[in-house]
């Protein structure tokens, strides 16, 4: 029981802090890659606290509902992850957040957030099947959807599921809103959709969404960590490498269009998944 409570606390409170820190590091490393100095490490927290203290301003009060629903779903998903629950269930709960983000964006009549919402849906369309297949692959290998069982598996999954890890990388890039997939909204506001789904959120509600994004980052890195669950050092190294690769890809690619994204991610992702799944089923 005490373990459960600790896990809930970690998931609920520590995860966003870690997520915020990762965003801060992300911004610094991006700046360094561009020859700049970049913001302080704690910048993400400054931003969120500032947004929290701003005037509450909405286009449609329904946005408030959606922002809260998004952040709660993201938080619950992370808490469940720390409770070592069912992977597929966690994915579905995470999807609730994604859907509420879309619904919230659709509730504004601005074409920017409307188009952003539809692109976000297309992104969900691109990454969700991949994550499901990755989870299915993990199940085929370990015989369980439960994280507790997966963490107890005797060897790093990445040796058996390398292609699925790459496929998860696509999902990660889309979900972290990194170039070339920062279609629905982008971290820097130089996009044809201004801020896409986030266009009409402001102040505290934007802060909530940012916190929800931190939870998402932690959750996705958690998914990656499953691939090297045998040792803390290996896991951290894998996560650091993966995240650095994400930042690198963000900085060496142009933003693409959703048509390309659907085609590319489905073609590449499904091929990679199929190859790996067949390998696991036969092997």
């Amino acid at each position: 029981m005490s373990n459960t409570i600790i896990a809930i606390i970690i998931g609920f409170l520590v995860a966003p802090l870690v997520g915020g820190l990762i965003s801060g590091l992300d911004r610094i490393i991006t700046a360094r890659l561009q020859g700049r100095i970049g913001p302080p490490v704690w910048q993400a927290f400054y931003d969120v606290i500032k947004l929290m203290s701003k005037e509450s301003m909405v286009v449609n009060v329904w946005q408030a509902f959606c922002a809260y629903a998004y952040v709660s779903a993201a938080a619950i998903a992370v808490v469940l992850f720390f409770l070592k629950s069912d992977l597929l269930l966690i994915l579905f709960i995470q999807a609730v957040g994604a859907v509420f983000l879309v619904v919230g964006a659709l509730s504004s009549t601005s074409p920017y957030s409307q188009v952003g919402a539809h692109r976000e849906l297309l992104q969900i369309l691109a990454y969700e099947p991949l994550i499901i297949l990755v989870i299915a692959g993990i199940y085929l290998e370990t015989g369980s959807f439960k994280i507790s069982a997966i963490y107890d598996w005797n060897q790093p999954l990445i040796f058996k599921l390398p292609f699925l890890f790459v496929a998860l990388g696509y999902a990660l890039t889309i979900k972290l809103r990194k170039s070339p997939f920062d279609l629905s909204t982008s971290h820097h506001g130089h996009q044809e959709l201004v801020k896409g789904v986030l266009t009409d959120y402001s102040g505290p509600y934007l802060a909530l969404i940012e916190i929800g994004h931190w939870y998402d980052v932690v959750l996705l890195l958690g998914f990656c960590s499953l691939f090297w669950a045998t040792g803390a050092v290996g896991m951290l190294a894998l996560l650091a490498l993966t995240y650095f690769a994400e930042i690198l890809i963000d900085n060496v690619t142009a933003r693409m269009t959703w048509r390309w994204m659907l085609g590319y991610v489905w073609a590449m992702g499904f091929t990679l998944c199929s190859v790996n799944l067949i390998w696991v089923i036969l092997g």
Binding site: R32, L33, Q34, G35, R36, I37
Partner: protein
Amino acid sequence: MFKMTPTILKNFLTEKATRLYPFEIREPYAHVRGELVNNSETCNFCGICAAKCPSQCIKVDKKSATWECEPFECVYCGICVDACPQESLSQKELYRKPSAERQHIIIKGEIRPEKPDAPVA
């Protein structure tokens, strides 16, 4: 797909291009056209600067010996400095500092006896 990688990795590993501006201020280049100043000692209020100024931000009243300038209208072209026969006008090498209020510069000099050979615009 990763053609940019060498460049950004080089950026990552070498020194940053950033000037730490408010903390380290770079030495300005010579003859940079910055803030316009008028030396009330040497100004003879001839009004050439006012006549030449493309932005027409300078007003000179010869009779009362006032030289007025709207610094927020000045475009820092330096025409007045070039034209000033007394070399009374000059430009600092730094820009005028931002301010929270509107500014208006009035320089009052002594009313001098008019010289017969003073250039008039």
